[in-house]
């Protein structure tokens, strides 16, 4: 596809958790917990408030369509600040320093006086109803010529356990938000920029690693479409696909509008109570519902069921909007009869609603008239947009598995911010800014490793991006051979992990002790997998090495090898020197890897030669 021709413009926001000791606005450790370990819980209602400009944010209003009660899990590692029961502590200086480092790496201008703001978020993920966030630096450059607009330092939101239950362990972990300008024009470019920023962030060595510690939001628009923000892309590899699918969605919505206009489609509030039609229905959803309402969308037949993205139809969009009123979803006649609703029932509804062939009927099952009306009102709003001059509404959407997306809420306006008066501004003066040092980029580091240590280029890159990079650098400083350390981290451990060994239980100290043991000849590098298996199963390094490698003296080794060769004299006779390979394995098993393979092969070769010569003579 020619993305240039359709005017694709995209920007990204990257949210990365920082690996500081304490949280951003309290002194709790940045520890993630298992929600089953929670030590207490409480609940709150959140309500919309007026921001400093006197407007209520439209995204916040949307959330308020439902009266919501939120439950929160507390832990012995959370405090009253997370509970919104105590004013915040001053901004965590360690977190600010990491932001400044990153700002310098992108060549940005720091904000002289950093002001913490309250960003209205009333989906329950923040106990206060706002997220604390501060703009730290502006105006950075990207290698593709694009711009990093801003770096903000924010507090991480609480993790949703399920529905309206949130876990407070994550709330308050420092998060850096990096926002690019809309400077990307192909899906692949978006992915490359995201990868690059991720690499820069990891170069600081101060960011958290693992699933969920980095999230990308992508802003996408095409000509004639609208800016749509897709939140929560966790897998980097999916970014390009998310962009492709959003382009497809916007193009299809534009095309649907053309079709609707040709059909002279129109949307009116003609909603009616059709509960009576379904008194003896077989549909379980409708049977349970107190009220069933129907709405006629003139000229929409076939289009509600039209696919706009893999797995998503225009009807899915209607349904997302309706769900904001707390209903489970909608039915539309493009997908009926189904779900236990019979063709006869569909016909009855169509007749009742005076629908002709081109008209689509949307139905909603709800617990009350109010909820049903609210849901259909939402559908009317969304359907009107489909025929309007802007058929792609400006929205915040959430990514679904595979890269499609679902509607979350309208794009928030600027009204959602007002000053966090409980946190004093922080000054970044020249002295602090000039003292901020820039670490070596991981890409540069990889190049250096390849050159200095003669490590394979691909290996060097993986090493630089690995979580074990600090360990590798420590090993080098302690005089361990780079290849030994690199091979252990990248190959041995990967293989062990594949075999189900809990490699993550091996501490950096154990790695170092192991390497020192190899370097000093106390054990052989072939013994590393067995050593690690032992340590991973909970035993101490010393115990494992003692059990594994009873020291074999060179005299003992010679007699072991002599015996092995003697026992297999026929085989040796047949194969000659070619017996070396198979016999190596036998010897190594016998000495349980406690001797360097080189030494073994040397002695073994001599023994074989001797045996061979002996037979001949």
């Amino acid at each position: 596809m020619d993305y240039n021709a359709i005017g694709l413009t995209a920007g990204i926001e990257i949210h990365q958790q920082l690996n500081t000791r304490e949280k951003l606005f309290c002194h709790c450790l940045t520890l993630l917990r298992n929600s089953a370990e929670h030590s207490g819980e409480f609940f709150r209602y959140l309500r919309v408030t007026e921001s400093e400009m006197g407007e209520i944010d439209r995204a916040a209003q949307e959330e308020m369509k439902r009266e919501r009660k939120f439950r929160y899990y507390t832990y012995d590692t959370t405090c009253l600040v997370e509970n919104d029961e105590e004013p915040p502590a001053p901004m965590n200086d360690e977190a600010l320093s990491v932001c400044l480092t990153i700002a310098r790496m992108f060549g940005m201008t720091p904000v002289r006086q950093v002001h913490t703001m309250r960003k209205l978020v009333i989906d329950g993920s923040n106990t206060s109803g706002f997220q604390r966030t501060a703009l730290v630096a502006l105006n950075g450059a990207l290698p593709n010529g694009g711009e990093i607009e801003t770096i903000c330092l924010e507090e991480e939101a609480a993790q949703r356990v399920k529905d309206d239950i949130f876990s407070l362990d994550r709330l308050g972990i420092p998060l850096i938000e990096i926002t690019t300008s809309p400077c990307m024009h192909t899906p692949e470019e978006v992915q490359q920029v995201a990868e690059y920023i991720g690499m820069v962030l990891r170069s600081t060595g101060k960011v958290k690693r693992g699933i969920g510690t980095i999230r990308q939001d992508v802003n996408i628009s095409i000509r004639g479409g609208s800016r749509v923000e897709i939140k929560g892309v966790q897998e980097l590899d999916l970014i390009a696909e998310v962009v492709r699918r959003e382009v497809q969605r916007q193009e299809t919505l534009l095309a649907i509008r053309e079709k609707l206009l040709l059909r002279k489609a129109s949307v009116h509030d003609n909603a009616q109570d059709v509960t009576d039609i379904f008194t003896s229905t077989k549909s379980t959803v409708l049977k349970k519902a107190k009220r069933i309402y129907a709405l006629r969308l003139d000229g929409f037949t076939g289009l509600a069921g039209y696919e706009i993205q893999p797995g998503r139809r225009l009807g899915s969009e209607f349904s997302d909007y309706a769900k904001k009123c707390g209903v489970g979803g909608i039915f539309h006649t493009d997908e009926l009869p189904a779900y236990g609703i019979t063709a006869e029932e569909v016909l009855k509804v169509r007749t009742h609603m005076s629908a002709c062939d081109q008209d689509c009927i949307v139905m909603v099952a709800a617990a009350s008239d109010t909820l049903a009306r609210c849901a259909l009102h939402q559908v009317i709003g969304r359907a009107q947009l489909a025929v309007s001059e802007r058929p792609v509404p400006e929205e915040t959407r959430k990514m679904l598995e595979g890269g499609s997306s679902a509607y979350m809420r309208p794009l928030p306006g600027a009204a959602r911010m007002y000053p966090e008066t409980d946190v004093l501004p922080v000054i970044i003066d020249d002295e602090r800014w000039n003292a901020t040092t820039v670490p070596e980029l991981l890409s540069v580091k990889a190049q250096r490793f390849a050159q200095e240590y003669a490590i394979d280029r691909n290996y060097a890159t993986r090493l630089a991006l690995s979580e074990k990079l600090p360990l590798f650098e420590r090993a080098l400083a302690e005089g361990i051979k780079p290849k030994l350390a690199a091979f252990t981290i990248l190959s041995t451990c990967t293989e062990l992990r594949r075999d189900g060994v809990a490699v993550e239980k091996i501490s950096d100290e154990d790695y170092l002790a192991t390497w020192h043991a190899v370097e000093s000849g106390r054990t052989a590098k072939e013994a590393i997998p067995d050593l690690f298996k032992g340590i991973a199963s909970g035993d101490s390094f010393e115990n494992v090495i003692r059990k594994l490698a009873p020291t074999v003296s060179s005299h003992e080794l010679k007699s072991i090898i002599h015996k092995i060769v003697a026992d297999r004299s026929e085989f040796v006779e047949q194969k000659g020197r070619a017996a070396l390979g198979p016999l190596m394995g036998v010897v190594m098993t016998e000495v349980r890897g406690s001797v360097d393979g080189k030494i073994v092969s040397e002695i073994l070769r001599k023994e074989i030669d001797a045996a061979f010569a002996g037979k001949r003579s």
Partner: protein, 399 residues
């Protein structure tokens, strides 16, 4: 110009030599004022008129506002949250109140509660009395939480009321979606339309938004600096509770019921009184500094003690005509100066035992007693009498 680019923003204020500018993104940043250029004024936003639909068939309540966090707004001069709204703004912000009663709002003061004075207590008492005379079914006083308990005690002594007088505030500023202001206010309105007949504080009972507790105005303390459920009844159980969101009020047996007291006001106060917390090693000079005061409440240790070295100064004060009342800084339990020598010496010096009165309640009470009774002996007896539930005769309540 900032960061090599020209940016448009709204100038908010000056702070520590920096110009605070709100960017289009909503973020505030502080920049060097020389990097800013003026481009024009913001169009004025017309002030919204509060439009509160009133239901005449509902009970009538008066809301007297004194300020405090139940009605707060951001102050751009200092960047801090200050009390600025009057009661009408509260009704705009909390529309559910309209389902409970119809309201009159009396803006009495807009102060932070640490700036409260006995003079304002008196103005408040008169304002409340006027509302009672109008025949309202209850009065709500919005108040900052820091000194709310002092004011509640002062009103308890100054006013006899047949209807509930309910103090309410919030511990989280009203600008935030999680504020406790709305629930506290709704529960206060429920309590003020209930069968209660005394002065009370109604605030969160737990950290969750489930229940508000109704506390007697003379037996309540702010026991936490920041939690929603900071207010606790001391020495007695709460008078009752209000469930949220149902609004159901349950009153305990010991709560004074509506209509039990006749309306009346005794608003005289003797301001020249003090409250002194004793600590080990306290110098007699500190006590002597109260010379000339009409009344002094001492928050002593344990059963009601100060060090022996202070006793001559205490005797001096009493001889000069100061009414000295002993309370305990333990908060829980009552004073008994007959157990140890120091106590007996204090009694001999003319100190009056304050029973199980809270020290700050005893201070407010001594102001009221001395404002209304000149005779030292009768004043002393009044200090020991239970006037508005401030003293219990039996210690039935544990910690």
């Amino acid at each position: 110009m900032y960061g090599g680019k020209t940016r448009k923003g709204i100038y908010i204020t000056e702070r520590d030599g920096m110009a605070v500018v709100k960017l289009d993104s909503g973020y505030n940043i502080g920049v060097d004022p020389v990097s800013c250029a003026f481009s024009g004024h913001l169009p004025e936003i017309p002030a919204k008129k509060p439009d509160v639909p009133q239901k005449k068939d509902l009970p009538g309540l008066s809301i007297v506002s004194t300020g405090g966090t139940i009605a707060s707004r951001i102050d751009y001069r200092t960047g801090s949250v200050t009390s600025q709204f009057d009661a009408a703004d509260i009704l705009t912000a909390i529309p559910e109140l309209a389902n409970v009663a119809n309201y009159r709002t009396i803006p009495l003061a807009t102060i932070l509660s640490e700036n409260m004075t006995p003079l304002i207590w008196q103005e408040l008492a008169r304002a409340i009395c006027e509302e009672i005379k109008r025949g309202v079914d209850g009065v709500i006083i919005t108040h900052g939480t820091d000194t709310m308990a002092y004011s509640a005690a002062a009103i308890s002594f100054m006013i006899d009321s047949p209807v509930p007088i309910v103090f309410v505030g919030s511990q989280r500023s009203a600008d935030r979606p999680s504020s406790d202001n709305a629930m506290n206010a709704v529960c206060a309105a429920r309590a003020a339309t209930s069968d209660l007949g005394e002065v009370a504080i109604v605030m969160h009972a737990t950290t969750s938004d489930d229940t508000c507790a109704i506390h007697r105005g003379t037996r309540v303390r702010k026991m936490h600096s920041s939690r929603r459920d900071a207010f606790r009844s001391i020495g007695i159980d709460p008078l009752g509770s209000v469930a949220y969101p149902s609004g159901e009020v349950s009153l305990e047996e010991h709560a004074v019921r509506r209509g039990c007291r006749k309306a009346g006001i005794h608003d005289k106060l003797e301001e020249h009184c003090g409250l002194l917390q004793f600590y080990p090693g306290m110098s007699p000079d500190l006590l002597e500094a109260y010379e000339g005061c009409k009344g002094l409440v001492i928050a002593g240790t344990g059963l009601g003690h100060v060090s022996t070295t202070l006793i001559p100064s205490v005797r001096g004060l009493v001889e000069d005509g100061t009414l000295v009342v002993m309370t305990t800084q333990c908060m829980q339990g009552r004073v008994c100066d007959r157990v140890y020598d120091t106590g007996r010496d204090l009694l001999a010096a003319g100190v009056i035992e304050g029973g199980d009165m809270l020290p700050e309640v005893a201070l407010v009470k001594i102001m009221w007693v001395l404002g209304n009774e000149r005779d030292p002996e009768r004043a002393g007896s009044l200090m020991q009498a239970d006037l508005k539930g401030e003293c219990t005769r039996r210690s039935t309540h544990g910690l």
